[in-house]
């Protein structure tokens, strides 16, 4: 409990660091909202017009004034207003988040459903041909850039089957569950591919570790069937590294999958922040990055707690 409190106390500190970093770096990039909106036509503005625009975008103040004003708003739960969407940043983020969350969950489900059985299977066939095949496949899966998979998927689906996943807008789960799943299926496969490969590899090696442990040998010698040994005794222990890996990977996915969202035209968090950077929507970049970092911290904390729950031998906090 002490550990949990300690961890939670560092969160605001880390988030503050993230906010300063994003605030300063986004403003260090050449170009501003004025050039982002007007392009080369920005050169046609008079000094007075330029000032009027800068005031409108709130970039006429010194950077630190802007930061403290933003920070003050943050403490009141106000992340500022996005100039592109003309709405509060938090609303825009929360609108995009369900897609990212669902995509991350679906990718993880696919990865676990494929990776876990394959890994366990390979472990039981240690060093036999079937094990080697699984390992090579897993290796290849981990080595394929997901943008290659995405591009090939869209191309082959449209050419040979005349279909593409719905693109451009997102149908939320609450509106039409089937359409929602259908839309995110292929993007989830794209993301789940490498993820499944990692799960396969880690579950295989974890399973091998556990199977060589004494208590499994004992269970076996006591006449437990090999199936029940694997699923009842070995798997729960082998799950620990799998949970850690999936958790960390899930944390990354919650930050949005920039390239895959771009290819499949999905309005998720990854594209939101990418577009916000391109269009120099400072408030939106700040808000989204902070949101992503917060999720990442929470997920990692949960992973550590799950880790402790699964393995009581580990005294939490002493691990690192």
């Amino acid at each position: 409990m002490n550990y949990l409190a300690q961890r939670l106390l560092t969160f605001p500190l880390i988030l503050l660091g993230v906010s300063v970093l994003v605030f300063v770096s986004i403003r260090m990039i050449p170009g501003s909202q004025i050039t982002a909106m007007l392009g080369t036509e920005a050169g046609m503005l008079t000094a007075a017009q330029r000032e009027a625009l800068a005031a409108y975008f709130g970039i006429d103040q010194p950077v630190w004034t802007q930061y403290f004003r933003w920070l003050a708003g943050l403490f009141q739960g106000d992340l500022g207003v996005s100039t592109i969407y003309a709405r509060p940043v938090l609303n825009v983020i929360l609108e995009r988040f369900p897609l990212t969350l669902q995509l991350a969950l679906m990718s993880m489900t696919i990865a676990l459903c494929i990776g876990l059985p394959l890994g366990v299977f390979a472990a039981t066939r240690n060093e036999r041909p079937s094990d080697l095949i699984v390992r090579i496949l897993a290796m290849l899966g981990q080595s394929t850039p997901n943008f290659v998979i995405g591009i090939l998927l869209i191309y082959f689906l449209s050419v040979f089957f005349g279909i593409v996943p719905a693109m451009g807008t997102f149908t939320p789960l609450t509106v039409d569950p089937l359409a929602s799943f259908g839309q995110l299926f292929w993007p989830a496969v794209t993301l789940g591919f490498a993820f499944a490969a990692s799960v396969t590899r880690i579950s295989r090696s974890a399973m091998l570790d556990v199977l060589s442990d004494d208590y499994i040998r004992t269970a076996r010698s006591k006449g437990a069937s090999s199936m029940s040994v694997i699923w009842r005794h070995a798997l729960p222990n082998a799950l620990i590294p799998v949970v850690t890996l999936s958790g960390v990977e899930f944390g990354y996915l919650l930050g949005g999958a920039v390239i895959v969202e771009q290819i499949f035209a999905l309005p998720g968090l990854g594209r939101l922040v990418l577009d916000a950077i391109t269009q120099r929507d400072y408030a939106l970049v700040q808000g989204t990055v902070l949101f992503i970092a917060f999720n990442f911290l929470i997920v990692n904390l949960l992973v550590d707690l799950a880790y402790a729950a699964l393995d009581p031998r580990i005294r939490i906090g002493g691990r690192k």
């Binding site: 880390i14 770096s25 986004i26 290849l140 943008f147 922040v273 690192k320």
Partner: protein
């Protein structure tokens, strides 16, 4: 050391990994010294978009440049960025991790919280922001990938360093009057070689993938220098007409990452005491 190398060669995936990585290094060296079948930058307009043939083994691109030669130079580019960025991350991460563990207290807190900040910052966005500020290029890619990976190395080093710090032999060394830097380098670093080596090979595979991704977005290597990711990006709209332009760079990236992953796995098996016990 030679014992490790011997078991590395004996290890099946280690062997394959070693072959691939050596092959890539040879290709990169040949690319550096211009030992390519064609000039990778020379444009032959009449030979545009030629399918693979005897003259152009992997075909030509839209400007009439030889894909095979460009791949060789692209590999060199990827290798330079991967090795340099991981080297930066390893050095910076190790120093930060060691200082953090050694100094402890407030310094440990400050350094590691700063690492947490970098870690919590979405990796691709961090790279993207760095590149947007400095402008894309080889050096920027190295710096961006290096910075993203530094906190991971810092964590990898700090953990073992902390536990080593408590152990007897370090205390013993201290009581025998060894100076601090001496203890740091001699004892701690020696004991950190194993976890670092594994992390380095995995980071190399990751760096290759990231470099390809950044170049794919046009943020990595700049033209006309060939780069695997950039070649992929240029090929995507030509796929129906010239599939070789996508297939070969994609395979080259995959094989390279595969090589480093295999080598990393073998290294982990060899260096990890738990697996040694299993094999015995």
């Amino acid at each position: 050391m030679s014992r490790i190398f011997a078991s590395f060669v004996r290890h099946p995936s280690g062997r394959i990994g070693l072959v691939i990585v050596s092959l890539y290094i040879v290709a990169a060296i040949m690319g550096t010294f211009g030992l390519t079948p064609h000039n990778p930058l020379a444009m032959v307009p009449i030979d545009r978009l030629k399918a693979p043939n005897e003259a152009y083994w992997f075909g030509t691109d839209i400007l009439g440049r030889d894909t095979f030669s460009r791949l060789m130079v692209g590999i060199r580019q990827s290798m330079i960025i991967a090795f340099a960025s991981v080297a930066c991350a390893t050095i910076a991460g190790t120093i930060i991790g060691l200082f953090s563990a050694w100094l402890g207290g407030i310094w440990d807190g400050v350094l590691m919280r700063f690492m947490d900040v970098l870690l919590a910052f979405p990796a691709i966005l961090l790279a993207l922001l760095i590149i947007a500020i400095v402008g894309p290029g080889t050096i920027t890619s190295i710096a961006a990938i290096g910075i993203v990976y530094t906190p991971i190395f810092a964590r990898v080093v700090r953990g073992p360093a902390l536990s080593l710090k408590q152990r007897d032999f370090v205390d013993a060394a201290r009581t025998f009057g060894s100076t601090q830097p001496y203890i740091l380098t001699r004892h701690l670093l020696l004991n950190l070689v194993a976890p670092l080596a594994v992390q380095v090979t995995l980071a190399l595979a990751w760096a290759l993938l990231t470099e390809a991704g950044l170049s794919f977005l046009g943020l990595g290597t700049q033209p006309p220098t060939p780069s695997l990711g950039l070649m992929l990006a240029e090929s995507r709209n030509l796929m129906p007409q010239a599939p070789w332009l996508m297939i070969f760079p994609a395979l080259t990236i995959m094989l390279g990452i595969l090589g480093f992953n295999l080598a990393g796995d073998a290294l982990r098996d060899i260096l990890d005491p738990r697996t040694q016990r299993r094999e015995a």
